[in-house]
């Protein structure tokens, strides 16, 4: 049976955090991969270094881990994300760490010592690079949510001036509107962005530990 149609539009982050409870996934895994492959890659590197005393993973190893994590995340199996148990990013790091250890056991990279049978799956502390990558992905998610929640024209003006750095006067002339209207639309877009970012899902991912 199809899942009930949502009565209110959910933002992308809410969808990601709630999708495990629904009958159908609301976010495509491809879009999730595009938005979050950078922090997943960063976490894979960090976990690999941690478990191999500072060695660097091969590209193939990273791609395998990221692919498995995305598959697990969308598989509705035992890897379901439970939002009540913490941040999405903490959960993703946990998944990455487990997959890194699994793959190290399976592939036994030539330059690595074999992991002991009862190896403790300690999750390393988040590195600055991981934090920055997660923040960038969250900001990209925020931009996508903004695109979906304000008038198309308003987003276009915000995108051209603030994200693509086109001159406001040029955009005004190109769209046949006044410069003051451009400024007003940017102000409204920023206000909407603040409202989206103030939602608990974003606040939790950005600021809680």
């Amino acid at each position: 049976m199809a899942a009930p149609f949502p009565t209110t539009s959910l933002n992308l982050l809410t969808k990601l955090k709630q999708s495990a409870d629904d009958d159908n996934w609301n976010v495509s895994w491809k879009r999730f991969l595009e938005l979050y492959h950078e922090p997943l890659t960063s976490s894979t590197r960090a976990c690999y270094r941690f478990h191999t005393n500072g060695h660097e993973p091969a590209y193939g190893f990273i791609e395998e881990v990221v692919a498995q994590v995305v598959t697990d995340f969308f598989s509705k199996s035992q890897f379901r994300y439970d939002a009540s148990k913490g941040r999405l990013r903490s959960y993703l790091r946990l998944l990455v760490n487990s997959r890194v250890i699994d793959l190290l056991r399976k592939e036994k990279p030539i330059n690595q010592q074999e992991l002991p049978e009862h190896y403790e799956e300690t999750v390393p502390a988040e590195t600055n690079h991981e934090t920055e990558s997660f923040h960038r992905s969250l900001l990209a998610t925020l931009v996508e949510d903004l695109r979906n929640s304000i008038p198309m024209r308003q987003f276009e003006i915000f995108e051209r001036v603030k994200l693509k750095h086109q001159h406001a006067s040029f955009v005004a002339e190109d769209l046949g509107i006044t410069r003051a209207m451009v400024d007003r639309n940017i102000y409204k877009a920023l206000t909407a962005l603040r409202q989206i970012a103030s939602q608990p899902e974003y606040q939790q991912e950005f600021y809680e530990s």
């Binding site: 895994w29 991969l33 791609e63 598959t71 992905s137 931009v143």
Partner: protein
């Protein structure tokens, strides 16, 4: 002249998103935050056409198809 290490560190512009929605945003920090948004936007644009992401997508697709075969016995 102040030594670089003794200069106050610029505040992370992300803290603006924590302020109440009616609080005023300082111009300089707002500029830095939109700069961060722009970087994130371009990262996303690059990811959409990245070969690396495409290769990983193929692996995910293959795994998901494999899972379908197992679950539904197709």
């Amino acid at each position: 002249m102040k030594l670089k290490s003794s200069m106050p560190k610029a505040k992370d512009p992300l803290h603006l998103l924590r302020l109440p929605t009616d609080a005023e945003w300082p111009v300089e920090e707002t500029k830095r935050l939109t700069e961060e948004l722009s970087l994130a936007y371009h990262m996303d644009e690059v990811a959409c056409t990245s070969r690396e992401v495409e290769r990983i997508s193929e692996k995910v697709r293959a795994r998901m198809n494999h899972a379908d075969v197992i679950v539904h016995g197709i």
